[in-house]
Amino acid sequence: MKVPPWPAVAFVAAAVVAWYLLPGPLGGPERTGTPVHVPVTPAPVATAPHPDCVRRKNLSVATGDDISAGSFRREVFRQWNEAHPDATLIEVSGGTDERRAQMAAPAQAGSCEYDVLILDVAWVAEFARLGYIQPIPFDPRGFLPALRKTAMVDGELYGVPFAADAPLEFQRTDVTDGLYALQLGDTESGTINLLEMIGTAGGHIVGGDESTDVTLGEERERTWRALSGWKVRTTGDQRVGVIEQSLDDDEDESLLAFRNGQTAAKEPVAYMRNWPIAFHRLAADPLTMRDPARKDALRFRVRALPGGVLGGSVLAVSRHTARLPEAMQLIRELTGHRAQAELFACGGYAPVLTSVYDAYAGAGARDCAALLSDAKPKPDSEPVAISAAELSGLAAEIRRAIEGASGSETGDDARIRPKSEFYARFSEAFRRCARGAMAGTVSEEAFFASAEMLREALKGRITAEPPC
């Protein structure tokens, strides 16, 4: 009887079993679900303009809704159009996801409808690495160093900072023993607040130059304490309770509670974390936010929250534009000293240029009316305009929030969010786990087990069985 070739049998059998046991691609049959559907393949991202490219008549600038005070951003474009070939703002209403999708989808297809894009800083890596925008010839000196970093991707400059954002702490001076308003809802502001909360408590989520190293698990105790103890926040040497509704709030809802001095449930509110734009919205309300006897006296003060997360927007140029020179000219104008000072004083946008901060730190501080030659203060008006002194104080705190207590290159300058083209996936996964941990529906073990999922999310991968 012929003896079987046992080594060969062992070879094949072990190979088959190994194949079955190994996870992921090339490993074993599908173990979860029974999809009958044949997965589609992503459409390639266009590397050249679409053959049926529709170019607008004017230089077009895609952006979200205008949140500047009095829609002042449009005024800046009106000024530009008076002296140059027209540029048109294409305003996309809707939430963050809708705005991002409305800019990304045409770019993928090679559309050349938009020449310039005003991008949230969190999207720059995605738009650059996926080929929606192009590197631009621009000298970024003169911008705050921390902001320059937001526009650099893989060593190249893909945009020019347009508006800065760094967290500030607002405190009402007329509400004693009030609580703290945060934004921990299921939106991007929730991610930012959570990263700040954990980071300032000495915990870890991400690290590295581009914030793409997931360091969740280091300083585990501090990280967990920040999450599980979210209901109390330290400000100065005080420990202040956080309002319960913060778990669902965004920036606008926090602002409403702060302005009213109380929540809908009548909890007193004395503190708020928010962006610089909130200053204009508060200071322009003389009845509730200014002293009735002295209209020049605000009923709140503002200070930097060093070590927070950097926000803001960047002007980028579409890969498929045919108007690069005009686009660059517009970008230079919008990021010039005059436009930046006006956008700050009149619109509430935090400036990106060191020269503007320097001006507001010295004798160059001017209020909106003084900056706009044709807008004289009206003698019969109530004195509600934000004064140069108020703007100076605000500028100093914004700069401190961006650069840290002792200037840039220190450890407590504002941190960037992970520079990944899949940041949105990371943000959503992190927020889900962290909010679950705060609500008590995600255990400590499950939360820290999410580190691998976050690493994969930054590469764009979906974890089949997420720990939370």
Binding site: P42, S71, N81, V92, S93, A109, G460
Partner: protein, 621 residues
């Protein structure tokens, strides 16, 4: 056992195989491989992909070492038989390890190759009527999870509410720009949010109507699979439903006309959203117009609905208004069938909390029951692909088509229709819209009173102008709007109503907007009650006051009584609505001493939408 002592036996696996058996060797190899593959946990400190590769490399190395040892080490002869067995056994183990190692190696190489960032998922944009957004989002997430390769999603679907049918037609013709009645020189245009790659229409008739009206009808692909099928229903609270059943035994067996009349006899009214802004309501209105054929009857039906207690622009906002209403038992809702489940499960009301769904309603205790009256149209939800020039490629179209096919097999709503019912036709919808706008919609004169004090500069001026530009969809051809400013020249001085713009129709909204922008805001706050007495004109007008909220501060000790008395004094003012911009709440929520309609709202993010709701709400008053 001669074979064991034969010279060949020493170099062959056969003896060991016979004694130890191949299964032992294979089992050891397998267990070893399995152990290696589970070592990942022990290798946690190493970064990926080394964490996964390292155990396999070590496993392979051990197998090779064992194999090499066997070849190189010569064991002493006292145990030749044992050595023969061991060596044969080791050969098999080594081959097993090599097999496992080879697979592991290929797997590892692939891991290294694929462990790079995913490709860009294809971004697709979908719109549908607001009441379908939740369900379509669920399906989109399901489809995304199905289309994952190597852990990477192939698609990313974003779902947003579709604009009204009129705005959609306009948007197709203008590259998705809003109909803002803007002059050319303005430096901005606004889009209707997402510019869709596909639109899930409410019915085939609606899709055909859009195709027939749009100049760029070529942008819409013909046909489109049905991705849901249900009927419009009449939804009532359980006690009201029981009362209706007592009168009609089985309301579903009776025609819409009879159900309408019986609902009225029971002291209830039928509410639907504004048909110009809600496709489901337009279809429902069309069904009612089919049941009431004479012009007089239609006028009566429309008047009853437009003057009913719940006047809203979309199905979710109608459910929201119902949720917060104190007279739920006197209202029957004409809505898509799934909206009843959405309401009963708390989906719409919870979702809408963010946009002001009133809290404190009876949700959770008060459930709706839905009837499908004979004559209520089928909603068949056709999937309409939109091909924008310069934004469509064959690959993207293929994915959209794949999603359409998948969605048709996994529809938004399971078929709950009665036998023999059909979708509405495009011609019916066109007739209904024509009837509404040309004959049935009573002409409405509106007077916008702007708080012109200096404090209102930021919040009021620019936002009102912008919101006004987008209102043509809710104004009829005979409607008129005029604008005045209210302020006082000195603190606590007398109120002045300054004309800003004379009466203009819906095609001149930009003129009104520009006059508001040019008006300037200065002076001090003045009481609204004083303004009502100065309203010019000789036609009844609804007054809408837009303020930062401070106008109420000068109404004296009892603002509700002061405003109520002022409203009652003015016969030409048919009602008062106040929209508070900025962050202050409504200081006066109800009036005393008048039966005229009054409401006060705090504006949300989209002032145009808030103004549209107010105009809808002011109709029938």
């Amino acid at each position: 056992m001669p074979a064991r002592n034969s010279p060949e036996g020493e170099n062959s696996a056969e003896p060991a195989a016979k004694e130890g058996g191949p299964w032992a060797s294979t089992t050891i190899s397998v267990l070893g491989t399995y152990a290696f593959s589970t070592f990942t946990e022990l290798f946690q400190p190493f970064p990926s992909p080394f964490r996964q590769i390292l155990p396999l490399v070590i496993g392979t190395v051990i197998a090779v070492v064992v194999h090499e040892l066997r070849k190189r080490i010569s064991l002493v002869p006292p145990w030749p038989r044992i050595w023969t067995r061991i060596s044969s056994f080791l050969v098999i183990v080594a081959w097993g390890a090599a097999g496992a190692g080879l697979v592991g190696l290929v797997w590892s190489v692939r891991q290294v190759v694929v462990d790079k960032p995913c490709r860009a998922a294809t971004e697709l944009r979908l719109v549908t009527a607001p009441e379908n957004v939740l369900k379509l989002r669920e399906r989109a997430e399901e489809y995304t999870r199905l289309n994952v390769g190597d852990g990477c999603a192939a698609v990313r679907l974003t779902v947003a509410p579709a604009p009204s049918v009129t705005d959609l037609i306009y948007g197709l013709d203008t590259g998705w720009e809003r109909n803002d009645n803007r002059e050319e020189y303005e430096p901005y245009v606004r889009l209707h949010g997402l510019q869709p790659d596909a639109w899930v229409a409410t019915s085939t008739g609606e899709a055909d109507y859009v195709r027939s009206q749009a100049l760029r009808k070529d942008l819409l692909a013909p046909g489109g699979a049905s991705v849901g099928r249900e009927q419009l229903v009449l939804a009532l609270l359980q006690p009201s439903a029981e009362a209706l059943t007592l009168r009609l035994s089985d309301p579903e067996e009776h025609p819409l006309r009879q159900v309408w009349q019986t609902v009225g006899e029971l002291g209830m009214s039928i509410a639907r959203p504004f048909p110009e802004t809600s496709s489901a309501a337009l279809i429902g209105t069309s069904d009612l117009f089919a049941a009431f054929t004479s012009a007089a009857e239609r006028k009566e039906v429309e008047q009853a609905m437009i003057s009913g207690p719940l006047r809203t622009d979309t199905v979710p906002s109608l459910l929201c208004a119902f949720h917060g209403s104190r007279a739920k038992e006197r209202v029957a809702l004409l809505v898509p069938g799934h909206s009843v489940d959405d309401y009963n499960d708390g989906r719409v009301t919870e979702e809408d909390d963010a946009v002001g769904c009133p809290t404190g309603g009876q949700h959770g205790r008060a459930k709706l029951a839905g009837f499908r009256p004979a004559g209520a149209s089928v909603l068949d939800y056709p999937f309409v692909k939109v091909n924008w020039p310069g934004q469509t490629t064959a690959e993207r179209q293929a994915i959209v088509a794949d999603f359409e096919k998948w969605l048709a097999g996994r529809p938004l709503y399971g078929d709950t229709t009665r036998d023999g019912v059909a979708p509405v036709h495009a011609e019916q919808l066109a007739r209904t819209l024509g009837d509404l706008q040309d004959t049935l919609r009573p002409a409405r004169d509106l007077h916008l009173v702007l708080d012109q004090s200096g404090s209102a500069l930021g919040p009021v001026g620019t936002r009102v102008a912008e919101g006004l530009r987008g209102l043509s969809g809710v104004l009829g051809p005979r409607d008129g709007v005029r604008v005045s400013g209210l302020a006082s020249r000195r603190e606590h001085g007398s109120a002045e109503l300054r004309p800003i713009a004379d009466r203009r129709g819906r095609d001149k909204l930009d003129v009104l907007a520009r006059k508001i922008e040019a008006a300037g805001f200065s002076g001090w706050d003045a009481p609204v009650s004083a303004a009502l007495g100065a309203i010019p004109g000789n036609l009844a007008q609804g007054v809408i006051v837009l303020t930062d909220g401070r106008l109420f501060d000068d109404e004296g000790d009892d603002p509700a009584a002061a405003l109520g008395a002022a409203l009652e004094r003015e016969p030409l003012v048919s009602g008062l609505q106040v929209l508070v911009l900025g962050q202050r709440p409504c200081a006066v929520t109800g009036l005393k001493g008048t039966a005229k309609p009054y409401s006060c709202l705090t504006a949300g993010d989209d002032l145009g939408e808030d103004l549209a709701k107010m105009i809808i709400s002011s109709r029938g008053r």
